[in-house]
Structures are given as C-alpha cells and as structure tokens.
C-alpha cells in the first residue's frame, strides 16, 4: 500500500523568511512522481512543484524548491522569501504511474505573518 504522511498539521513563518514543510511517503514502486499542491482559502487546488523519482536533481520553481531524499522516502518543500499570499493548506502527493491516481498526505496549514 502507498501512503503519504505530513506530520506538521500547522506551521507559521514571518514574511520574507524561509520555511520547510515535511513529507514522507511509502511505496514499493521504483518509478513514481511526487507533487506539492497548494490550497488557498478560495479552495482552488494549485500545483506548486513536481519531481520525478528517477531524477536526483531537486526540482525548483522560483521561490519553491524541494529536498528529495529517495532512500529516506522524504520529499520536503522549502519556501524562500515567504509572502502573505503563500498562506494556504499545502498537500504532498504521490503518483505511482500513469492514470492520475494521486495519493495525498494529511496537509499542512501554513500561515505567513506580516
């Protein structure tokens, strides 16, 4: 069975600072994909960043980057220069193969304080 675990239900960070959200997962597959989604108060899910498991290089998207540790099955999200608009629920997700069946973690609610 595949699982995704986010052990931090809530986090807060001061504006302009850096914050890291943790995610661990479990899968027996060798080829898979990992994602971070953001859900602001509008409830619209937004894809933040994605990573292929066979790539060692960590993905980056502007202020967002990941630390992918395949052996440890860890996939953390780092947000640099936090902005008030980053306030949202963040979900880590695992995709085993084609077909779009994403397995989500429990979510981390991030508050960016002015």
């Amino acid at each position: 069975a595949q699982t995704v675990t986010q052990s931090q239900p809530e986090m807060s960070v001061q504006e302009a600072e850096t914050v890291t959200l943790s995610c661990t997962y479990d899968t027996s597959e060798n080829n898979y994909y990992l994602f971070w989604y953001k859900q602001p108060p509008s409830r619209q899910m937004i894809l933040v960043i994605r990573q292929e498991a066979y790539k060692q290089q960590n993905a980056t998207e502007n202020r967002f980057s990941v630390n992918f540790q395949k052996a440890a099955k860890s996939f953390s999200l780092k947000i640099s220069d936090s902005q008030l608009g980053d306030t949202a629920m963040y979900f880590c997700a695992l995709l085993r193969n084609q077909g779009g069946k994403l397995i989500f973690g429990q979510g981390t609610e991030l508050s960016v304080k002015p």
Partner: protein
C-alpha cells in the same frame, strides 16, 4: 485554461436524502476523480473514471456511487446521506496517457456538504 465546474459550492441535506454532486470539465479529459477532504485526513479518493460509462473504486467508496454517461460529466451520488458524509468534496480531471509529470490534475473549487 481548463475549467472544472462543481455545481454547488455549499449544500445542506437531511439524513437519508439522495444527494447528487455534479462535476463538469470542458477540456475533453478522459480521467475524472472524486475526492473527499477532511481536516487531518487530507484528500481521499472515492471513485474515478477513465472513460465514459467506466468507473473504479477508490480508497473509500462505501456509501457512494458514481455515474459517467457523458465524457465531460462525472456525478457523485450519495444514495442515503448520513452525517459522517459531511465533508468537502473535490472533483478533478486529467488527460489520459500523458503520465508522470504531465499527469496534471485540474480541480474544481469543491462542494462543502453538510448532512443534518
């Protein structure tokens, strides 16, 4: 841009009622999904469909059924609503066969269902 539209943003129903949650996507996507979102549990997959008239159970299908008579529409049905089905329901769609990093899900804005 892909649009996934859920018919209601908020819905209040009584225990025992039959409830229909509708989802429509406008980009000819083959894949459609229904998730429920609960605090502390994240998103859990209820049902999904890879094609018209096709359906497969997700992780928590009990108490739900689905219908996909047309490619663009995927309905979630609560045959007899119960209070433990009070939740946020999210519909999503994606293009079949792109796989991997291109397997991007497009989500609707969710329906907050309260069963009293």
């Amino acid at each position: 841009d892909v649009k996934v539209t859920q018919s209601s943003r908020y819905l209040v129903k009584r225990t025992g009622e039959k409830v229909f949650l509708e989802c429509v996507q406008d980009m000819d996507h083959e894949n459609m999904f229904w998730y429920r979102q609960d605090p502390g549990l994240g998103l859990r997959l209820i049902y999904f469909s890879y094609d018209v008239k096709m359906k497969e159970k997700g992780d928590i299908p009990e108490g739900y059924s689905v219908s996909r008579e047309k490619k663009e529409r995927f309905s979630l049905i609560l045959e007899s609503a119960s209070t433990n089905q009070t939740s946020m329901y999210l519909c999503a769609s994606s293009l079949m066969g792109t796989g991997g990093l291109n397997e991007k899900l497009f989500f609707g804005s969710g329906t907050q269902l309260s069963v009293l």
